[in-house]
């Protein structure tokens, strides 16, 4: 498996397939080979969810730790990439649940984040309120919405990572957008 242009895990290359059996048996060299092959894609996937490079690095290590612990349950037929993505998503969700909502959504952070491609029609205040309203959404909706709407990841991959159907992903995105709109309207922002 390798990372594609979008940083998403794609498919297993032939040279990696023999590592999978050894990995299941607890071979550390095989695990290291898989780590080196997948760490960038796993890190990228986690970063898209948690949006903090430092946290994404810690969570990447936690993900590979859990991967090694769960190696006996790995099914080679399903591919290492989707399986790793699923574990990474659970790790990221645990991290989001443990954090205080809006804890890092300061005006300064939002201003820095939007410095590159900011729409002049959207003020810093609206961006901040939107980000804070988004942070108040349930975690399951947030992850689906950020991966689908902001990061534009394929619905199929999001569905696999969350362990739900593609339809359920679309429904979560729909609900997230509607809840966000209601929250913004309560704050006097009319989209």
């Amino acid at each position: 498996m390798r990372s594609g242009s979008s940083g998403v895990l794609i498919r297993e290359p032939d040279q990696a397939s023999d590592h999978l059996d050894k990995f299941r048996q607890g071979d550390q060299d095989a695990f290291e080979a898989l780590f080196r092959l997948h760490q960038r894609a796993v890190y990228g996937w986690i970063l898209r969810i948690v949006r903090s490079p430092a946290a994404a690095e810690d969570l990447t290590m936690e993900t590979f730790w859990r991967i090694y612990q769960a190696r006996a349950r790995f099914e080679a037929s399903r591919g290492f990439g989707p399986w790793a993505r699923r574990i990474a998503t659970n790790v990221a969700l645990d991290w989001l649940r443990a954090r205080r909502p809006e804890s890092e959504l300061t005006a300064e952070l939002i201003a820095n984040q939007t410095a590159v491609s900011a729409d002049p029609g959207v003020t810093a205040e609206i961006r901040l309120k939107t980000a804070q309203a988004f942070a108040r959404l349930p975690h399951g909706l947030r992850v689906a919405a950020i991966l689908a709407v902001v990061e534009e990841q394929p619905h199929k991959e999001i569905a696999e990572a969350l362990g739900i159907s593609v339809t359920a992903v679309k429904l979560r995105v729909f609900r997230a957008v509607r809840l966000l709109r209601k929250d913004l309207e309560r704050q006097g922002i009319k989209p």
Partner: protein, 80 residues
């Protein structure tokens, strides 16, 4: 139609508030040593059980019981 446009507007606001991250760059440091340390810590911390020794001890115990109480042999055979 209006609701659809509103939803598109909300998505645009969301992308403005939380723009896509630079996910292609990879971690800033080599993460493998930390993962390896954790794996090693688990290996060291886990109590090592000599299962072969335990198997022989269990067999010896069963034999001792059958010698001391021959009447237990049919019961043991029943449960095998």
């Amino acid at each position: 139609m209006n609701a659809h446009n509103n939803d598109d507007r909300i998505k645009h606001l969301l992308r403005q508030a939380l723009p896509p991250v630079e996910a292609e760059t990879g971690p800033s440091r080599n993460l493998w040593p930390a993962v390896l340390r954790r794996l090693d810590a688990q290996t060291v911390g886990k109590p090592r059980i000599n299962w072969v020794w335990l198997d022989w001890a269990l067999l010896a115990g069963v034999l001792a019981v059958t010698v001391a109480f021959p009447a237990s042999i049919p019961m043991l055979l029943y449960y095998l």
